[in-house]
């Protein structure tokens, strides 16, 4: 057991945090959102330059071959800075699906543009699509909803009845309706009507599962970063906001609420670490259980921290001009994306949870 960051990881953390501090102060975020693709091309370019987009992919597909911890470091910083760049959607979700689910040469070819930042990819996991074999190619028909980052994606990984398929955004027969999401970023609904893709565009279903697990781990990191930042601004506010002649943070009831928030923030941080380390877990059942637990805890803790961060801020907490209202919305969105809290609990219960009914000594 070792829960310290390595020197390399610490350096990575410093550099992404510096990027966030310098490029993403809250007053610049609105400008970034106004960019043509809903995020800052410049910041995205810097993330590429730092190698962040290459982090999770193995070296034989052109990546840096780093692991879940490094992605977690990026996620926490993105959560703290409320970044809008498509790291989750293009790198973690679609990127992982392609890297894990296609032959190395195809993956390398696809990932080149994705890691380079010029190609934006998106994973259409909420899809009802039928794949009909058609000689060397496959014909896709159906629809997908709420494709994260799909509003400006250049290429999609679309799940079908069994496998998934790489589909360029400009493929004939593919149409999309892009929209913005509460909490930041965008998505799209897709319609596929007679879209033809080659057999080589096939992505395995197990890779999609891994991509969603990686996505949930990333959301956990993002949530942990956002929650800690929300707690920080709240504590700062409690120390500086004066009512009735004293800082409101001298009120015991508010102190205790902040303490309860800290407990949940520590749990969220642990969930993010667990998610990072699950990437190395070989047993799919263990990964599935762990992922469900992580998402459930992130949903619950995120809801609690978001609600009380706003409550302790009072009126200013629901103002668009105050960062805490954005943490609130992003944390709400994170709780709902890739499977909500109750859905995850239901899944975990179906898998039997972590603890069997068998007595401990009898079991082992």
């Amino acid at each position: 057991m070792n829960l310290e960051l390595s020197d390399d990881q610490r350096m990575l953390k410093d550099s992404i945090e510096r990027l966030v501090t310098e490029r993403y102060p809250f007053d610049k975020r609105h400008g970034h959102a106004a960019g043509a693709r809903g995020f800052s091309d410049a910041v995205w370019g810097e993330m590429v330059e730092l190698g962040l987009t290459m982090l999770p992919f193995s070296e034989h597909v052109g990546g840096l071959g780093l692991g879940g911890v490094e992605t977690m470091i990026v996620g926490e910083a993105i959560g703290r800075g409320l970044l809008l760049e498509p790291y989750l959607s293009s790198i973690v979700l679609a990127g992982t699906a392609i890297a894990e689910g296609t032959a190395p040469e195809i993956a390398a070819a696809q990932l080149e543009g994705i890691m380079g930042g010029q190609t934006i990819a998106a994973l259409a996991d909420r899809a009802e699509v039928t794949a009909t074999p058609n000689g060397d190619s496959v014909r896709l028909d159906g629809a997908a909803s709420l494709v994260l980052g799909g509003d400006h994606a250049d290429v999609f990984v679309v799940t079908s009845n069994d496998d998934a398929w790489i589909v360029p955004a400009d493929a004939p027969g593919l149409s999309r309706r892009g929209f913005s999401l509460h909490g930041g970023g965008g998505a799209a609904d897709l319609t596929l009507s007679g879209v033809q893709v080659s057999n080589e565009a096939r992505v395995t279903a197990s890779a999609v599962t891994r991509a969603i697990e990686a996505g949930i781990a990333f959301l956990a990191a993002e949530a942990a970063g956002a929650m800690r930042a929300a707690l920080d601004v709240t504590v700062e506010y409690l120390k500086t906001r004066v009512q009735f002649g004293k800082a409101i943070g001298t009120n015991q009831a508010l102190q205790h609420r902040a303490a309860e928030m800290l407990v949940e923030v520590e749990q969220a941080t642990s969930a993010a670490i667990y998610g990072a380390l699950l990437a190395n877990e070989d047993d799919p059942a263990e990964r599935a259980r762990g992922t469900a637990a992580i998402k459930a805890v992130i949903g619950k803790t995120g809801r609690f921290v978001a609600q009380y961060a706003v409550q302790l801020h009072g009126g200013i907490g629901v103002s668009e001009e105050h960062v805490v209202s954005h943490y609130f919305r992003r944390l709400t969105a994170i709780g709902m994306l890739l499977g909500g809290t109750d859905e995850q609990i239901k899944r975990l219960a179906k898998m039997g949870g972590f603890t069997s009914a068998t007595p401990h000594l009898a079991a082992a």
């Binding site: 929209f179 209202s325 609130f328 709902m336």
Partner: protein, 386 residues
């Protein structure tokens, strides 16, 4: 003991319901059903419709030009509006400034303002909070200096609900900075928002809407006859106003409306339906609590500190219902829409407002006495702690 309403009261409820059904503009109703905010024009039109029927000012006595409802009638009336749902009479006019003018206004002020307030010929805004004066309202800094027959007002007000619709603002200003207690140097002043020196700046809230504002007052010359309740007597007026604001605040009908929406979205999802039932059970019981307090109010003019109980539990359930609605809607509700988006199919629930309304409803435990303030009131006033 009897929880049932009298036959007359039941008939009144049916009257109100029919009136709403027959007279509420369908577009306004559809917006309310969806949880959208109607336009100023729609709100005004509805209030005038109610006014023509004599119902625009449910809390006003007959002497003040109101319907002279009993507490039960008032409850039934508002409950029907909430459940319909239809816009409530504009609270700044009807629940706040109207009763103040009735109780503290000069005969001239009453003549000039009451009827116009009821008919919303004047839309009022509230100018109480300041950036440094939230829960601690008496810490306000906006100053009014007497010069002849005017007050010269300077300051900065915040959280003006619907202030951009408003014609006038009722506000608290510091007229005596040297008073021995800060509450003793405050006056209650009516300010015409078209006066030179008044600047209104929108505040966008976390629902993406423009519903509140900041108001900057820069050497605004306010006629002295806009003073209500006497110079440096504004705190008494304020206490009166706030205690009115706190009656009947469980807003059970609004929560019922949210639960109806939950049920339409839930289909046969048992987990959601059980959560809805758990909320309904508490809500049903809260109705009894509400009726108990109403019943006690019939015999008394004193504010009932148990109103804080209604506020606390009422907000808790309303926020829980909005959260459950978000859960029932699922992640599709994360798509950003605006209140101006076209209506969907008749039989489709509009998801566009669910996330914004969940977000903005968090403010319900902040404004009008935050939950923390309410708990302190309960502990001190009812339990004698502290």
């Amino acid at each position: 003991m009897d929880l049932r309403f009298t036959a007359e009261e039941e008939a009144f409820r049916q009257d109100v319901r029919s009136f709403i059904r027959d007279n509420l503009d369908p577009v306004t109703h559809r917006k309310m059903m969806d949880g959208r905010i109607p336009t100023k024009e729609e709100i005004v039109a509805w209030q005038r419709t109610l006014n023509a029927r004599g119902w625009a000012t449910p809390s006003w006595s007959k002497e003040a030009g109101g319907p002279g409802f009993s507490v039960v009638e008032r409850y039934i009336f508002l409950d029907e509006l909430h459940q319909a749902p239809a816009p409530e009479p504009v609270s700044f006019n009807v629940s706040m400034i109207g009763p103040v003018i009735s109780a503290f206004g000069t005969p001239e002020q009453k003549d000039r303002l009451l009827a116009a307030t009821a008919n919303i010929d004047i839309w009022w805004a509230q100018g109480f909070s300041e950036p440094g004066a939230g829960s601690d309202l008496a810490a306000l800094r906006t100053s009014a200096r007497r010069e002849g027959d005017h007050f010269i007002v300077n300051g900065h007000k915040i959280w003006q609900g619907m202030g951009h619709h408003a014609d006038w603002m009722f506000t608290l200003v510091r007229t005596n900075p040297d008073a021995p207690k800060k509450q003793m140097g405050i006056s209650f002043l009516l300010i015409d928002l078209r006066l030179p020196g008044v600047t209104i700046r929108p505040i966008i809230t976390s629902d993406g809407r423009h519903e509140v504002n900041e108001v900057f007052l820069d050497d605004v010359h306010v006629p002295a006859d806009c003073l209500v309740g006497g110079e440096n007597r504004g705190w008494d007026v304020t206490k009166f106003l706030l205690s009115n604001e706190r009656t009947g605040i469980a807003r059970i009908g609004m929560t019922k409306h949210l639960i109806r929406r939950v049920k339409r979205l839930a289909g046969d999802d048992e987990a959601v339906l059980r959560k809805a039932a758990a909320l309904e059970a508490e809500l049903k019981i809260l109705e009894i609590t509400q009726l108990r307090i109403l019943d006690a109010q019939r015999g008394s003019n004193e504010p009932d500190p148990r109103s804080s109980v209604l506020k606390l539990k009422g907000v808790e359930l309303r926020q829980a219902a909005s959260e459950l609605l978000l859960e029932a809607a699922g992640p599709q509700a994360l798509e950003v829409r605006t209140d101006e988006d076209p209506f969907g199919e008749e039989d489709t629930e509009w998801l566009g407002t669910i996330m914004p309304n969940y977000a903005i409803l968090r403010a319900a435990s902040i404004y009008g006495g935050s939950s923390e303030v309410q708990k302190t009131i309960v502990a001190k006033t009812i339990l004698g702690l502290g």
